[in-house]
C-alpha cells in the first residue's frame, strides 16, 4: 500500500505548477475507425492525438481545415463535438526483453492475461530505416531448420525473405518452424557457453488472422519451448483496421530495439496481404485517391518502408524479416505480391499442387530464390548441398518430359531416380526443424549413395533413422560438425564410418 502512495507522491511532485499548453480540436465525424477533426492547427503528421476516455489516435491526413485521424481504441465511446488534443509525441510501443514470452496488441498492451509488462523503454513505431553507411552485407546464416530451404534457398541474418503461396500451403508453418529452430539453437548455444554465440529473438506479428489461429500458433510455440524467445504482436481480424495497419510497424519497433542493442532478431509478418487490405480500408475512409485494385498510391511505400527497417547493422545486431503474402490461385503477378517480391531479397514460393501431392514443405524450387545466395551458408551445407538445386530443377524438367514417353535411356532413368530421392528426402513434418549438422549428415548420405538401396518411398524413413542414429549415438561428431561448420577429410571419414555402422543395423 505504501508503494502505491509513494508512486502517487512522486507523480504529484513531477506535476509542474506552470501552465500547460495544448492544441485542441473538436470531432466533426467518426466513422469506421476514422475521426475527422476541426482545429488541431499545430498537429504533426503521425502525431498521437488524445481522445476522451483515454482513447488514442494518429493524425494521418492533414487538410487545410480538417484533420483525419485513425482511432486506436473503442470508437463507440467517441461522439461528435468531443474535444481532442495533441500530445506532441509520436506513437511508441514498449520494447525490450520483458516482452519475450508475451502477447501484445498493436500498442504494446498485454493481451495474454499474464499481467502488466515491466518494460522500461519505449521505441517509436514509425522510424526511418537505417541508411547505407550503417549497414553491413548479409553473411551470417539464419537456419530455418527446414532442409529444402537451408540447403537451396539460404536465409541470412538481416535478409528479407518473402514466403508466398495460396491459402493452406504451409506458409505460417514455415515461419513457425523457423522460430522454433531459433529457440532450439538458442538453447544449444546457451548451454555451450560460447561467448561468441548470438541468440536470435523472434517477433511474430499476426495481422487480420482468426483469433483461433493465433492461439494455435502460440500453443505450438509454447509446446516447442520457443515462446520464451518470442514476442507475439496480435492484431486479429476482430481488431479495427487501424490496429491491423499499425501492428507490423509495432513489431518492427520491437525488433529494431534488439538490432540497435547489438542483438539479432527475426520478425514474421503474417500476413502483409491483409495488412494492405487494412491500409486500403483506412485510405478509402480518409478519402485518399485510390489506384489499382482500389489500393492507395502509397501502398508500395507502406511495405517498402516497413521492410527496409530489417537490416544487418555494422557494429550492432540484425533484424531478419519473413513477410508472408497470400496469393489467389497461385497468381504471383497480382499487385501486392509483385510489390513485395520486388522489395524483398528473395522468395520461398509454396505450391498447392506439391502440397496436395504430399510434398511438404511444398517449396517450389524453380520459383524460389534467395538473392543473398550462398553468402549466408556455412561451408558444410555448401559442400553437401551445392548442386542440389540444379539437380532438382533438372529432375522437374525431365519428369515433365518423361510423362510423354516410356522408353527412357539409363542416364535419364538414373536422373529421375535421384531426383525422386531428393524430393523424398526433403519431406519434413510440421514443427519439427532439423539442426544444420543433422541436415549436413542427411544430405551427405544422399551424396554418398546411402539411400540408393531403398525403394524411393522408403527414403524418408531411412533419413529419419539416420538422424535418430546420429542424435542418439554420435553426439560428439555432430558437435564437431557444428563447431567447425565445414566437412574436412577427417570428419567425412567419421561420417562415412558412422553411416556404415547405421547401415549394418538398419533393416529398411
Amino acid at each position: 500500500m505504501s508503494t502505491v502512495i509513494e508512486q502517487i507522491e512522486q507523480q504529484i511532485a513531477k506535476l509542474s505548477t506552470k501552465t500547460v499548453r495544448k492544441n485542441t480540436g473538436v470531432i466533426r465525424t467518426v466513422a469506421d475507425g476514422v475521426a475527422k477533426i476541426d482545429g488541431l492547427s499545430d498537429v504533426a503528421y503521425n502525431e498521437m492525438i488524445q481522445f476522451p476516455n483515454g482513447v488514442i489516435g494518429i493524425a494521418l491526413n492533414l487538410g487545410t481545415d480538417e484533420v483525419g485521424a485513425v482511432v486506436l481504441g473503442d470508437v463507440s465511446q467517441l461522439k461528435e463535438g468531443d474535444e481532442v488534443h495533441t500530445t506532441g509525441k509520436l506513437l511508441s510501443v514498449p520494447v525490450g526483453k520483458p516482452l519475450l514470452g508475451r502477447a501484445v496488441d498493436a500498442l504494446g498492451n498485454p493481451v495474454d492475461g499474464k499481467g502488466p509488462i515491466d518494460s522500461k523503454e519505449t521505441y517509436p513505431v514509425e522510424k526511418i530505416a537505417p541508411g547505407i553507411m550503417a549497414r553491413k552485407s548479409v553473411s551470417q546464416p539464419l537456419f530455418t531448420g527446414i532442409m529444402a530451404i537451408d540447403s537451396m534457398i539460404p536465409i541470412g541474418r538481416g535478409q528479407r525473405e518473402l514466403i508466398i503461396g495460396d491459402r493452406g500451403t504451409g506458409k505460417t508453418t514455415i515461419a513457425v518452424d523457423t522460430i522454433i529452430n531459433q529457440a532450439k539453437i538458442n538453447k544449444v548455444g546457451a548451454a555451450s557457453g560460447d561467448p561468441k554465440f548470438r541468440p536470435v529473438y523472434s517477433i511474430y506479428v499476426a495481422i487480420g488472422q482468426k483469433n483461433s489461429n493465433i492461439v494455435r500458433t502460440i500453443a505450438a510455440l509454447e509446446a516447442a519451448g520457443a515462446l520464451e524467445y518470442t514476442v507475439i504482436v496480435s492484431a486479429p481480424a476482430a481488431d479495427n483496421a487501424a490496429n491491423q495497419y499499425l501492428a507490423p510497424f509495432s513489431g518492427a519497433a520491437i525488433g529494431e530495439w534488439f538490432m540497435e542493442n547489438g542483438m539479432d532478431a527475426l520478425i514474421v509478418f503474417d500476413d502483409l496481404s491483409k495488412h494492405a487490405v487494412a491500409y486500403r480500408q483506412i485510405s478509402l475512409i480518409l478519402k485518399r485517391p485510390s489506384g489499382r485494385e482500389a489500393y492507395p498510391g502509397d501502398v508500395f511505400y507502406l511495405h517498402s518502408r516497413l521492410l527496409e527497417r530489417s537490416a544487418r547493422l555494422d557494429g550492432k545486431g540484425s533484424l531478419t524479416a519473413l513477410p508472408i503474402i497470400e496469393t489467389l490461385a497461385g497468381d504471383v503477378s497480382a499487385y501486392i505480391p509483385t510489390n513485395v517480391i520486388s522489395i524483398t531479397d528473395g522468395q520461398i514460393f509454396l505450391e498447392t499442387d506439391l502440397f496436395n501431392q504430399g510434398i511438404r514443405p511444398a517449396v517450389s524450387v524453380g520459383l524460389s530464390v534467395s538473392r543473398v545466395g550462398s553468402a549466408a551458408q556455412i561451408k558444410a551445407t555448401k559442400q553437401v548441398g551445392g548442386k542440389l538445386k540444379g539437380e532438382l530443377a533438372q529432375f522437374r524438367e525431365l519428369a515433365a518430359f518423361a510423362q510423354f514417353g516410356s522408353d527412357l535411356d539409363a542416364k535419364t532413368k538414373a536422373q529421375l531416380d535421384r531426383g525422386g530421392r531428393i524430393v523424398e528426402l526433403f519431406k519434413q513434418p510440421a514443427f519439427n526443424p532439423i539442426s544444420i549438422e543433422l541436415q549436413a549428415v542427411t544430405i551427405f548420405a544422399l551424396q554418398k549413395g546411402y539411400y540408393d538401396g531403398f525403394d524411393i518411398k522408403k527414403v524418408t524413413a531411412a533419413a529419419v533413422s539416420i538422424r535418430e542414429f546420429f542424435a542418439t549415438r554420435k553426439d560428439a561428431l555432430l558437435t564437431e560438425i557444428r563447431t567447425k561448420a565445414a566437412l574436412d577429410k577427417d570428419i567425412e571419414a567419421k561420417i562415412v564410418a558412422a553411416l556404415d555402422e547405421w547401415k549394418a543395423t538398419y533393416a529398411g
Binding site: V20, R21, N23
Partner: protein, 131 residues
C-alpha cells in the same frame, strides 16, 4: 457550378480570403460577401455559408480568449492575460471571463485551437491519466 464537396469548400475559402484585409477580419468585407451571396442566389448557398461560417468562427476565436476561472478574477488580471496573448499571437486579443467551478482552482484560457491549462482540475486529470 459543381455540387461536389471540394468545390463548396474551395468557394467558401475564397469568400473567406475576401473577408480578410491586412491579415484581419473585416466586418465590412463579411457584410459584402453575405450581400453578394444573397443577391446572386448561388447554388448550394446554404452549404457554402455553413463552411464560410466555420472558417469565420475559427478566425474570430483566434482573436478572442475565453478565460475560465474557479475563483474571482480581476479586470487587471484579464487585461494582463489579454496583453500577454496579444504579444504571443501578434494580434489584438480580447478576453472574456467565464466562471467554471469545476476547475476547483486556477485558470483555463482558450484562444483559437490553443488551450492554456493552469487549474487544479487539469492537474488532477493528468495525474489520473498517468497512474
Amino acid at each position: 457550378m459543381s455540387t461536389g464537396k471540394p468545390q463548396i469548400q474551395q468557394l467558401a475559402r475564397q469568400l473567406f480570403k475576401l473577408s480578410i484585409v491586412d491579415g484581419r477580419l473585416s466586418d465590412e468585407q463579411v457584410a459584402g460577401v453575405l450581400a453578394y451571396v444573397e443577391k446572386n442566389h448561388a447554388a448550394n448557398a446554404v452549404a457554402i455559408l455553413k463552411v464560410y461560417r466555420r472558417l469565420i468562427a475559427a478566425e474570430v476565436a483566434k482573436g478572442s480568449a475565453i478565460v475560465e476561472h474557479a475563483g474571482p478574477v480581476s479586470d487587471t488580471l484579464l487585461a494582463s492575460i489579454g496583453g500577454a496573448l496579444s504579444q504571443r499571437y501578434h494580434r489584438p486579443v480580447t478576453t472574456t471571463a467565464k466562471a467554471n467551478p469545476a476547475l476547483l482552482a486556477g485558470l483555463r484560457v482558450r484562444i483559437g485551437d490553443d488551450l492554456f491549462e493552469s487549474s487544479v482540475a487539469g492537474q488532477l486529470a493528468t495525474l489520473s491519466a498517468s497512474v
